[in-house]
């Protein structure tokens, strides 16, 4: 026996069936011919000999089939005939096929889309060599007495749920780097965020990342063109002004020309030479989803990336660098971590001047294979919720199909009995039914994959702001394909099992004899009824979800903000700090404010350090003079530096005192305006006008409160107005982080932006306007997740109701047709049409009530998990729950009405004769 001959014969039988057929015929013809010759030689007539030879050899088609099956094609042939038969059944019932395949495609497609997102956010790793060896360094410290006072970076959670900080000072990074024993390498990077890049005289804003000299080597990333950043680039400050650009920037701005190497671009107006282009798959070490466009060595920071300090590289107090290490395979992690803890303490003691009671930060590290993994923190919960909801949708589609198939398989009982009687095995019938289900689910799966392909960028698109280019790009890959295939097969088995079982359980005799015994077979429909209850309860869950998220969105859009966002246009200006070192930046914005205010069409114009409802905020310690409270939550207040017309532009009423005026200048007395919350928090509601305070913003220069304004929301619509104080930007030390201009205008953005741009370029032609959007768009952007949820869950809800409708109608119509006989008897014995109607509707409402109650119970139990995603209502919102229950009850009764009416109008004579 040999596998190769088995396979080659099987392959020939399968792929070249007609050739095999004709070979068998040839061989047979030769056999008959030879036999006829022998027989005629023995004296038979040729005609008689031919007849005898044929009889001896047996029928041609049986012979062919036996020979083919000797080559192991039996399973294949049966599968093919099952498939052919299944296809024929589907073509015969196009309505059923459309509903089945359509609902499966929607369910599977929704799952594919959400899985694509989930995979990217939760599963994908950095596209570097052995990402599993990467460790992200971090630390934690005592909040009150910790040695680290200034920090710029993100927190990450350890597997134990503890939050650790991931920023280090540059000198400490260099000391840790020497602690090498258990590590292959230690490297560092920092995303500097949005940076102005000028290429051939055209400026745009890109994300820039500073990296250590060993970054490329340690990650094992080879640029697709040129070279990466090397150790020699990361030496003396400014010695090597080089950059590696992303594949996306290369396509966008250089048309993938290889002459890009050696070209010069300006970063914040500092000339830099391009030395390499990253491969498209490389997104940096920070994020799996988004790649910065420019990578520069750390040695460029004091020159092109001035921020916070003259040189962050030299600063020992500013903690900002993200540090990663590649651990040696098989190294003792705990020991390595402990040695870094000791090294960190030593480094802190060696580099920082500490107060007497300062405590050391404690070292810790986490898996770095997904970078800082910020997307996961942001989206993990919504993704789990969406996965659950799409799971329900698919389950609902399954239940619906199982229901329809069950009804069909009962209708096909006669066919099954005939098959059984003709000698088909039960296994064979089971297999045939499952093949039909799998055929359906495979077609649904193909549809779903297609929908998944169409929609794979849908959610990333919805999530990114309308004024920013889409950052996240989903790639369909074999994992997604595998997932879709797996759920298709699983659904096929799930909804095909019960009908197949029922079909295989048919008695050859019973159905042939037909009728009579189904006068009252209540138990018969048990599986179908369970499915209806399941369908209704799943629908209730999905409708409740839709209601909760839609109402959340509506509550958010109705929530009072405290200011009027109408007719306000926003844009950002990030002046290059290399050209505008403080206080020149303040002078620049003063000049721009004045110039822009004069543009015709501008009703009112102001600027602020923080954009309202953008998630960003400034916070400082706030201490009213004469109060020295050490109460922890009475220490800090929110802050915004604003232009003189800020309050009038946003329509924020000044309740007491005055607004800022042009007489508040950089040299005049420092003044501030506070909101009501702050008055309540720090002054217990007493009139604060004229009171003096100090804050960590102005290095304890006493500032006088000159006015009180109404409360406004600051970071988000969800958060209540915080205690906030405002100061004129003109009295600030610097505006290094850039500002947002707010223009109140009745003109269209397209009409006024060119005028604004001209005015700005008359001051500095290299200053780009960033992120032009209306205040309303800005607010909508912060609720994008809620909008996606409202849209998706709304869609799921509608789908659920439609499927429930079909399912209930199907099962009730089936029940009625099964019970036509019984109904006929009842009516012949004197039952009225109304009684029959009530009987059928009563059964339907009984099922509905059980389903609705179960659904409400599950929805209430699961609602707890989404409490934090809701706004302005609780998860047991009575209105939503009642509406959902009412909707499903009316849908169920509506769907049963038609079959019930049909039952009520049955003609007893016909019904009794009905087979």
């Amino acid at each position: 026996m040999s596998l190769s001959s088995r396979f080659s014969t099987w392959w020939k039988a399968v792929t070249r069936a007609s050739q095999l057929d004709s070979e068998i015929e040839d061989e047979r013809a030769f056999h008959i011919e030879s036999r006829v010759e022998d027989l005629t030689r023995n004296g038979l007539s040729r005609k008689e000999a031919l007849r005898q030879a044929r009889v001896e050899l047996g029928g041609l088609s049986a012979q062919k089939e036996n020979c083919r099956s000797a080559w192991g094609t039996r399973a294949w042939d049966e599968l093919r005939s099952d498939l052919r038969y299944g296809c024929r059944m589907l073509i015969k019932n196009p309505g059923f096929a459309a509903i089945a395949i359509g609902s499966l495609a929607l369910g599977i497609g929704a799952n594919t889309i959400i899985f694509t997102l989930a995979k990217q956010v939760m599963l994908d790793r950095l596209n570097v060599e052995h990402p599993e060896q990467l460790r992200l360094f971090g630390w934690s410290q005592n909040e009150k007495s910790g040695a680290v006072q200034w920090e710029w970076g993100t927190d990450v959670a350890t597997p134990k749920g503890k939050m650790i900080d991931t920023s280090f000072s540059y000198p400490i990074y260099q000391q840790l780097k020497r602690q090498h024993q258990e590590m292959e390498d230690i490297f560092a990077f920092k995303n500097f965020g949005r940076t102005t890049v000028t290429i051939d005289g055209q400026s745009e804003i890109v994300e820039a990342e500073l990296v250590s000299g060993n970054y490329y080597k340690a990650l094992g990333v080879k640029p697709e063109l040129g070279r990466g950043i090397q150790d020699s680039d990361d030496g003396i400050v400014g010695s090597s002004p080089v950059a590696v650009i992303s594949d996306s920037l290369w396509s966008r701005r250089f048309g993938r020309s290889t002459s890009v190497i050696g070209k010069t671009l300006e970063l914040n107006l500092v000339p830099v030479t391009i030395v390499g282009v990253n491969p498209p798959s490389f997104t940096g070490a920070e994020s799996v989803q988004i790649s910065p466009d420019i990578f520069c060595p750390f040695s460029m920071q004091p020159i092109a990336f001035r921020r916070y300090a003259p040189s962050l590289l030299a600063s020992t107090t500013n903690w900002w660098v993200v540090v990663m290490g590649r651990i040696k395979p098989g190294a003792n992690e705990a020991a390595a971590s402990a040695s870094f803890d000791a090294a960190l303490s030593n480094a802190v003691k060696a580099t920082m001047t500490l107060t007497k009671d300062a405590t050391m930060p404690r070292f810790d590290w986490v898996d770095g294979s997904r970078g800082l993994n910020e997307m996961r923190r942001q989206f993990a919960k919504p993704i789990y919720v969406l996965l659950a909801l799409t799971g329900f949708v698919l389950l609902l589609a399954c239940a619906n199909l199982a229901n329809l198939l069950l009804a069909r398989s009962s209708a096909r009982q006669r066919e099954m009995s005939v098959r059984l009687a003709l000698g088909a095995g039960r296994g064979r019938i089971l297999r045939q039914m499952l093949t039909e289900s799998l055929l359906l689910s495979a077609m649904g799966g193909i549809g779903g994959l297609f929908l998944g392909y169409l929609g794979h960028n849908l959610i990333p698109n919805l999530l990114s702001s309308s004024w920013e280019a889409t950052k996240i790009v989903n790639h369909l890959d074999w994992q997604i394909f595998g997932y879709t295939t797996a759920i298709s097969v699983l659904t096929g088995l799930l909804f095909g099992m019960a009908p197949a079982w029922q079909a295989a359980g048919t008695q050859a005799s019973s159905a042939m004899k037909e009728t009579a015994q189904n006068v009252t077979q209540r138990r018969r429909g048990f599986a179908g009824k369970t499915l209806v209850v399941l369908q209704i309860s799943l629908s209730v869950i999905l409708v409740v979800g839709a209601g909760l998220f839609t109402r959340t969105l509506s509550n958010l859009s109705k929530a009072p903000l405290g200011f009027n966002p109408a007719n306000i246009l926003l844009f950002d200006i990030q002046q290059p700090n290399t050209r505008y070192p403080a206080p020149k930046d303040i002078e620049l914005h003063r000049e721009l404010e004045e110039k822009l205010s004069q543009i015709p069409g501008v009703d009112s114009l102001t600027l602020s350090q923080a954009t309202l409802i953008s998630g960003a905020r400034w916070m400082y310690d706030f201490t009213p003079a004469g109060q020295s409270t050490k109460d922890a939550d009475k220490v800090s207040a929110n802050f915004n530096a604003v232009g003189a017309h800020f309050f009038s532009t946003f329509g924020i009423p000044v309740l007491a005192g005055r607004s800022f005026t042009s007489s508040d200048t950089s040299t005049s007395k420092k003044v501030a305006i506070v909101n009501q919350q702050l008055v309540k928090k720090f002054f217990s509601g007493a009139n604060p006008i004229g009171k003096i305070f100090t804050s960590s913003l102005s290095h304890s220069v006493p500032t006088e409160i000159v006015g009180v304004v109404a409360d406004t929301k600051y970071t988000s619509v969800r958060q209540d107005p915080p205690a906030t104080f405002y100061e004129p930007y003109i009295q600030l030390d610097n505006l290094e982080s850039g500002v947002t201009y707010e223009v109140h205008t009745h003109m269209k953005a397209a009409a006024i932006v060119p005028m604004l741009r001209n005015a700005i370029q008359s001051v500095d032609k290299n200053l780009p306007l960033m992120d032009i959007r209306t205040q309303q768009e800005q607010i909508d952007d912060t609720t994008s997740q809620e909008r996606i949820f409202a849209a998706l869950t709304g869609g799921f809800g509608v789908l659920a109701v439609v499927l429930a409708c079909i399912g209930i109608y199907g099962i009730m119509a089936y029940t009625v047709s099964r019970r036509t006989n019984e109904i006929g008897i009842r009516m012949a014995l004197g039952a009225q049409a109304g009684q029959v109607l009530r009987m059928i509707l009563g059964e339907a409402s009984w099922l509905t009530i059980v389903g609705v109650l179960a659904g409400l119970g599950i929805a209430a139990a699961m609602g707890r998990l989404i409490t934090s995603m809701l706004f302005g209502l609780t998860f047991w919102d009575p209105l939503t729950l009642a509406t959902a229950a009412l909707l499903l009850v009316s849908v169920a009764l509506g769907a049963s009405w038609i079959p019930a009416r049909r039952a009520a109008h049955v003609d007893p004579i016909k019904a009794l004769r009905h087979e």
């Binding site: 026996m1 001959s5 030769f30």
Partner: protein
Amino acid sequence: MGRQNDLLQGTLDMMVLKAVSLGPLHGYGVLQRIQQISGDRLEIQQGSLYPALYRLEHEGWITGEWGQSENNRKAKYYRLSASGRRRLHAETEKWNHMSDAIGAILRATPEEI
């Protein structure tokens, strides 16, 4: 035909292998050779011959090849492969072993027990 219907499944395979081991044969030739060697005591049911040939080819014990018959017609010739030879050997041993055992049982007399 008829009386040999209950030939054990394996015996037909074994006889075909043996017939082919004496030289390449087409299907009809296999039939003739078996009948000739058995002195017409065995008659092979022709309907089951070809499925048996295909089964043996599927297993790789014989290989089929199209050629010219003695009267210049197209015919498929089967020859024994190396693994078929091993198989035939094993089958023959098994058969001999079994027929010895069965023979011993049938020859048994009361005295021997």
